[in-house]
Amino acid sequence: MTRTLAVVRLAAFLLLATATAAFAQSAEDIVRRLEANQRFRTQEAEGALIITDRFGSRTKTFVSYAEGRERMLLAFTNPEEKGQKILRLQDEIYLYFPDAEEVVRLQGSALKEAVMGSDFSYEDLTGEKSLLDLYEVRLLGSEKLQGREQHLLELKARGRGVAYPLQKLWVDAVEFIPRRAAYYALSGRLLKTLEVLEVRQVAGRSVMSRAIMRDALKKNSSTEFRVDRVKLDQPLPKNLFSLEALSW
């Protein structure tokens, strides 16, 4: 009996110690580890956006290339939009259409528009800055999602130049990748939610390979983001992230 009690006490102590250790990590530390985990020199991926709304479901396939956090190129490969490209250079977004003689630079309210009618906006593609530069971060506690321990963070915008003034982020306590996110307006109204459905190990790194974004302001609307193939830190063609290269 005494031995049993001792085991229970030990277990309780270990649990408490683990929890305390977890909270001992500051919110900033968690964000730093999260961002370090998502930092690649280069990334090349193939995947699809599966958009579901009141009119049914549509699939847009793409290949994407990224270099650091500043440069990204998304080229659509499905027959309806084949050849269309989205280029991000720092915070600038450019659209390329094979039938257009000029490259379209998106700015202002156009950045809030949906990419291919999905639940992602062009603004969601931007953001090379660290979350810590843009948001004040607070650790709200921990929660379990699908049996995995998560750090629950609250992010409050420091200024006005962000797409979402308030965010809640569930960060996997072991892999330090986001598992869920909720995006809010300044008024506190829920705008979008992101649910990570699948994480894949690539070259020893955890990479989000399937996620679903839902626009809370649209009924019966969701966009599944699926990565079928991904290569990390492989050399990319030179001059890939330039306006001149878009027409290639």
Binding site: F55, E80, E81, L95, F97, D99, A100, E101, E102, V104
Partner: protein, 410 residues
């Protein structure tokens, strides 16, 4: 007969009085005639603009399109529209057929974007429907199959683009993906409605099909009827043709049953009738007032002719005839002058563009009054009847007064 001659003599005897009385009647008649013409012009213009630019007499669309219109649902289309257009053109009751693709778009030029409403049209067929060739103020119409665009004057000024310039149209394709294509401006149009002038940009329908991935599909097909009183029958016939073609999701509707335009037109019609009534009352008051004043002014004369032996009934008839003759001449003059003025204004137009700034209504800022034979004839008889009847009351009262009393009261 003797009284009629006497009445004519009285009219001629005091010309100034007769002219004064007649002028009031003529002026009131002229204003009412002109007012009716202007109102008929506004309503006719509204109807023509709605039918030619928006609905046709009959419009064929996918049944689910209207409920989702604000989402620009290009996939809710009229498939195989070319065969359908050919079939509809064979119908004897059809004067013209115009297939269109309507799409929400943004004009991109020099890193600036401007909202607009794109219309993919068949420029040859639109000569009979939208009559766009009459709206052209610079350049030429786009050629079918080419990446050419006709810009409305308002939008062209805003964008800063002229004939020969290039611009890119952005939008969503049928699959709700992105769409973008560069066009050359070949012409500038000034549409009759200010709202259209700011938003309507026209491209060849086959080019629009490529831009929007709508091969062989239109968002609507508009019909003009040979006889606009048989629009409902034409819609029913179009539905039969649609059914024969196996286009199960497509429906033809008469323009009266589309949107709020017809309801709005009826509302405006009622409103205008109230305005017309106001002018009628004003005109009637002028006629009654002048006629009664003229009779009361002639009490001494009434006393004299009564003392000479004319019976009260004869006095009433005499004054009635005087008013009747004056009103016939005056009303005729008023109607003729009103009609002439209408004819002139219908050519020159009445420019209400300043008054209509910011008004979102399918009426042209330059109104062309339209003479309506039925209302003009009615105005003539109404003026004659009011002036003649207005003479009864004072002349009956005057005729009952004793001659001595009548002479003393002056």
């Amino acid at each position: 007969m003797k009284l009629a001659a006497l009445a004519f003599r009285n009219i001629r005897r005091n010309r100034r009085r007769s002219v004064l009385s007649g002028s009031a009647i003529a002026l009131a008649t002229l204003i009412i005639t002109l007012m009716f013409s202007i109102l008929a012009g506004i309503l006719g213009d509204y109807r023509a603009n709605v039918v030619r630019y928006l609905t046709g007499h009959v419009r064929l669309r996918n049944m689910a399109y209207d409920a989702n219109e604000r989402l620009n649902p290009l996939h809710l289309s009229v498939p195989g529209y070319r065969d359908l257009v050919s079939r509809l053109e064979e119908e004897p009751g059809v004067a013209a057929v115009a297939p269109r693709i309507q799409f929400a778009t943004a004009v991109y030029r020099e890193e600036r974007t401007f909202g607009g409403l794109g219309l993919g049209v068949d420029f040859d067929r639109e000569q009979a429907v939208m009559q766009v060739q009459h709206s052209l103020v610079a350049g030429r119409l786009p050629r079918m199959g080419q990446r050419e665009i006709l810009l409305p004057a308002g939008l062209a000024a805003e964008v800063g683009a002229g004939v020969g310039d290039k611009l890119t149209l952005l939008g969503k394709n049928k699959y709700l993906g992105m769409a973008g294509m560069t066009f050359t401006v070949t012409g500038i149009a000034r549409f009759p409605v200010a709202g259209f002038n700011r938003s309507f940009l026209l491209v060849p329908i086959d080019t629009a099909e490529r831009l929007l991935k709508m091969e062989g599909e239109a968002t609507e097909v508009l019909l003009l009827a040979r006889d606009d009183r048989r629009v409902a029958a034409l819609a029913a016939r179009a539905n039969e043709i649609v059914s024969e073609a196996g286009l199960t999701g497509v429906e033809a509707r008469a323009w009266e049953r589309i949107g709020m335009w017809h309801t709005l037109m009826r509302l405006v019609d009622t409103m205008y009738n109230f305005i017309a009534l106001f002018f009628f009352i004003l005109g009637t008051t002028v006629i009654i007032n002048t006629t009664m004043m003229v009779i009361f002014e002639r009490l001494r004369e009434i006393g004299t002719i009564s003392a000479l032996g004319m019976k009260p009934g004869e006095i009433v008839r005499l004054f009635f005839l005087e008013a009747f003759f004056i009103s016939i001449i005056a009303a005729l003059a008023g109607v003729l002058l009103g009609s002439a003025l209408t004819a002139v204004l219908s050519r020159t137009g009445v420019d209400l563009s300043r008054a209509m700034q910011g008004v979102s209504f399918e009426v042209s800022p330059v109104i062309r009054p339209k003479l309506n034979a039925r209302s003009t004839v009615f105005v003539f008889f109404y003026s004659v009847a009011v002036a003649s009847l207005a003479s009864f009351l004072p002349s009956r009262r005057a005729a009952r007064i004793q001659p001595v009393e009548a002479l003393r009261s002056i």
